[in-house]
């Protein structure tokens, strides 16, 4: 069985002073993969400025907008329709030999191949004193450890949309112990990488019908590479595995690689941006 999703992404930018020139790059198009298949993409902006489809440095699809006349206000709207296959995230064969998996993590080839997602970045740097907050249990499988980590962070950090912003780093997060999906995800990636497990930040949309945490914007979760299995998604904010409700856009080392909207805007004065996301679904045979 599959689900047909309809996603509406809206953004509105208002500037105090006229904008003379601007470039925007949206990273909001769902990735095409085994479980995600497109029906349609539709993108408009209120200035009717030319829209181009391109890719970013990591090969994910982007939408670029470059208005050629002055303006103070612009609104964007994207509509995506796609089919998401029903996923059972537990449908895999874990490696029975726990030790073998942990040994794999220590192999040079493994480390080199996953170098990108083992790196510590500004967003995934754990303060020295917090490194013992979560300790891996080597008698248990890597997957079980990651599930425990998922559960641990979910309880350790309280979901609060007011506490942090896109610049928040782990030292601050661990101080206030409140945050949103991207903070949960960064913390998960940090502990996974600290233990030699490749982990990446995933941006995407969440279908919230099931009462999952998230807000009316984009969602973020983590993917960790379990040796002999592959990448598995962990929605840390909701203490679940990523599944049919999770529509992936892109992945990267951290939020910086995946931010939905990047812009170069030549203007003075203040500006205001409002985003919203609506995800709806209907079942399909």
């Amino acid at each position: 069985m599959s689900l047909e999703y309809s996603i509406t992404y809206k953004a509105e930018n208002t500037y105090e002073e006229s904008v003379l020139e601007a470039y925007w790059q949206f990273l909001i198009i769902p990735e095409e993969n085994d479980s995600q298949q497109f029906i349609s993409i539709d993108f408009n902006n209120s200035l009717n400025a030319k829209t181009e489809f391109s890719i970013n440095g990591y090969g994910f699809k982007t939408i670029r907008v470059h208005p050629k006349s002055e303006f103070k206000h612009i609104a964007f709207e994207a509509n995506f329709k796609l089919i998401k296959k029903e996923i059972n995230p537990f449908d895999f064969e874990p490696e029975a030999d726990v030790l073998k998996s942990f040994q794999k993590l220590q192999e040079l080839d493994f480390k080199v191949d996953h170098n990108t997602f083992l790196k510590t970045t500004d967003y995934t740097r754990l303060p020295e004193e917090s490194k013992n907050l979560f300790i891996f249990d080597t008698t248990q499988s890597i997957f079980e450890n990651l599930q425990s980590l998922n559960n641990f962070i979910h309880h350790y950090i309280k979901f609060n949309t007011e506490a942090t912003d896109v610049f928040t780093k782990l030292n601050e997060l661990l101080n206030i112990r409140q945050g949103v999906c991207q903070d949960f995800t960064h913390l998960f990636c940090a502990f996974a990488r600290l233990n030699g497990i490749p982990a990446r930040y995933v941006s995407g949309y969440l279908h919230q019908d099931n009462g999952y945490f998230g807000d009316a914007q984009m969602h973020a979760w983590a993917e960790a590479y379990v040796p002999f299995v592959g990448w598995i998604g962990f929605d840390v904010t909701n203490d679940i595995l990523a599944g049919t409700s999770h529509i992936k856009i892109a992945d990267g080392k951290d939020y910086k690689d995946c931010s939905a909207l990047k812009g170069v805007v030549y203007s003075t004065g203040n500006n205001e941006t409002v985003h919203s996301v609506v995800v709806s679904s209907q079942s399909q045979q």
């Binding site: 470039y23 790059q25 181009e52 391109s54 890719i55 970013n56 440095g57 990591y58 090969g59 982007t62 670029r64 470059h66 040079l108 080839d109 480390k111 080199v112 191949d113 170098n115 990108t116 083992l118 790196k119 080392k253 990047k262 170069v264």
Partner: protein
């Protein structure tokens, strides 16, 4: 003994410990310099002062200057130039040239490898943390095939002659090496001032750099382009190397653009001309990685072109040098150069490497801390001679500061024995006489697809302060015309 009948050399003091380029151990003028020594000796001091002033004003009037800011207003200064040329005999040049080509090729293969299969790391020859913790390693470059397979199109290799008379490489500069325009200006200035001296030597011309550069850049054009449109991109006229950027564009006969002159549409790059947009195929860029595309890298960059990297990734434009080359001119990678050359080329290194200690390795760190007085401490990721500490010049207090810094971030530092750069007679304004000054040599190598070129000359940089070993122009260095003799 130095032949003191020679007027302008009458007060020349030769320190026998240092390797003098023109006098041998006995104080005799070396064969290759004898004619030049005679010719320069024919001038009186006052004649020489006069010639020197003329050369200076030639630079000034041509606007080959850089700006210095003091409290009141900006001043324009010329890059100090010494009229006494340096000669490199053919047999020595042969070593330098083949050695620089060898290094550039090996570095190019190394870059391809670290951005693709990473075999050299998997085989344990170069440690992984050199790429995983290098700020210059760009994840965006992974599995991207640069047109023609070339990363470091332009390399500037800094070579010195040690007191043993052998050449050593100090640094490979493969981001945006500068200085090549001075090679040509120095030659022009020397010709204007002392044209007679050229009659007695057969010297290679240096004016063919631009045509060779253009020729090689055209070999790495994007697929499907017939005659590529090449441009040079500059941060703008307030950049200290702007003269060089405009010189290169002018002599290649191509446009000199700034970021705002370019735009990207449907992943192709165009420049804004008076007749509308014109497609650009090859960009010789003189702006750093972080600034080339604000949508991909530093978002605050006003120098770059939004969308440029996507166009590059799609193979629609060539960037020279490729983004991410900085990972290979990291000073920690330098220390692996002999292994890198052997691994990719199966050759012995032609040019020597200076022994280097990695502070990231506990054993070597201990050696560095115990022998700091005999070492040069260098930060691994700084260019332009910044952040260098020379052990025997430091006070005890300064040594403690340096030690503390190393201990705080050992990965950031490497150490090398204090190399004794050779010295060359250099005219010093203050004393109105020739004195020994340390020199190095920056060699310019250009790699194209199945083709390479080394400029037969290079920039001899002079540390103008007595005893100083740092020759960078940002640290008060000057330069000399450099003659490579024909066989």
């Amino acid at each position: 003994m130095v032949n003191l009948e020679n007027q302008i050399f009458s007060s020349y003091q030769r320190n026998p410990v240092l390797f003098d380029e023109i006098f041998d151990q006995e104080g005799q003028v070396k064969e290759v310099y004898s004619k030049l020594f005679e010719l320069y000796g024919g001038h009186s001091i006052s004649e020489y002062v006069n010639l020197n002033e003329k050369a200076k004003s030639s630079f000034f009037n041509q606007g080959i200057t850089f700006q210095v800011y003091d409290k009141k207003k900006t001043k324009e200064k010329i890059f100090p130039f010494d009229l006494f040329p340096r000669i490199i005999p053919p047999e020595e040049w042969e070593i330098i040239e083949s050695g620089c080509i060898q290094r550039s090729k090996a570095l190019n293969l190394f870059l391809w490898d670290v951005y693709h299969d990473k075999n050299i790391i998997k085989e344990g020859i170069v440690p992984m943390d050199l790429i995983s913790s290098s700020a210059n390693y760009l994840d965006q470059m992974v599995n991207l095939d640069p047109p023609g397979g070339i990363y470091n199109h332009i390399s500037g290799t800094d070579v010195i002659k040690h007191s043993d008379g052998q050449y050593y490489v100090l640094e490979d500069n493969i981001r945006c090496p500068s200085g090549v325009s001075y090679v040509i200006c120095n030659r022009t200035a020397l010709k204007r001032a002392l044209f007679g001296v050229f009659d007695h030597y057969k010297t290679y011309s240096v004016t063919n750099y631009a045509e060779n550069l253009l020729d090689l850049l055209e070999t790495v054009k994007p697929k499907g382009v017939d005659v590529p449109n090449v441009v040079v991109i500059t941060p703008g006229m307030y950049n200290s190397a702007f003269y060089e950027h405009s010189y290169l564009a002018k002599t290649m006969g191509v446009e000199l653009v700034e970021g705002r002159d370019l735009f990207v549409e449907n992943d192709f790059v165009y420049m804004k001309t008076i007749k509308g947009p014109q497609k650009v195929d090859v960009i010789y860029r003189r702006i750093d990685d972080a600034f080339i595309d604000p949508l991909e890298f530093n978002p605050d960059s006003a120098l770059g072109v939004p969308g440029l990297f996507a166009a590059y990734k799609k193979g629609n434009v060539t960037l020279a040098n490729a983004p991410g080359t900085g990972v290979a001119d990291d000073k920690a990678i330098y220390t692996y150069m002999p292994e890198i050359i052997k691994y990719y080329l199966n050759e012995e290194p032609i040019l020597n490497n200076v022994k280097t200690y990695h502070c990231s390795r506990p054993k070597e760190l201990r050696y560095v801390l115990n022998n700091i007085k005999n070492l040069v401490i260098k930060p691994v990721d700084e260019a332009g001679g910044y952040g260098i500490s020379i052990g025997n010049r430091l006070s005890d207090k300064e040594i403690e500061v340096v030690k503390a810094e190393i201990l705080l971030s050992p990965r950031k530092y490497v150490a090398q024995p204090i190399m004794s750069l050779s010295v060359h007679p250099t005219y010093i304004d203050e004393t109105e006489s020739f004195e020994q000054r340390h020199v190095d040599l920056r060699v310019f190598t250009v790699l194209g697809k199945d083709k390479e070129f080394v400029l037969k000359g290079g920039l001899t940089r002079v540390a103008l302060k007595r005893g100083n070993l740092i020759v960078n122009s940002s640290q008060g260095g000057g330069s000399k015309d450099t003659w490579v003799l024909k066989t």
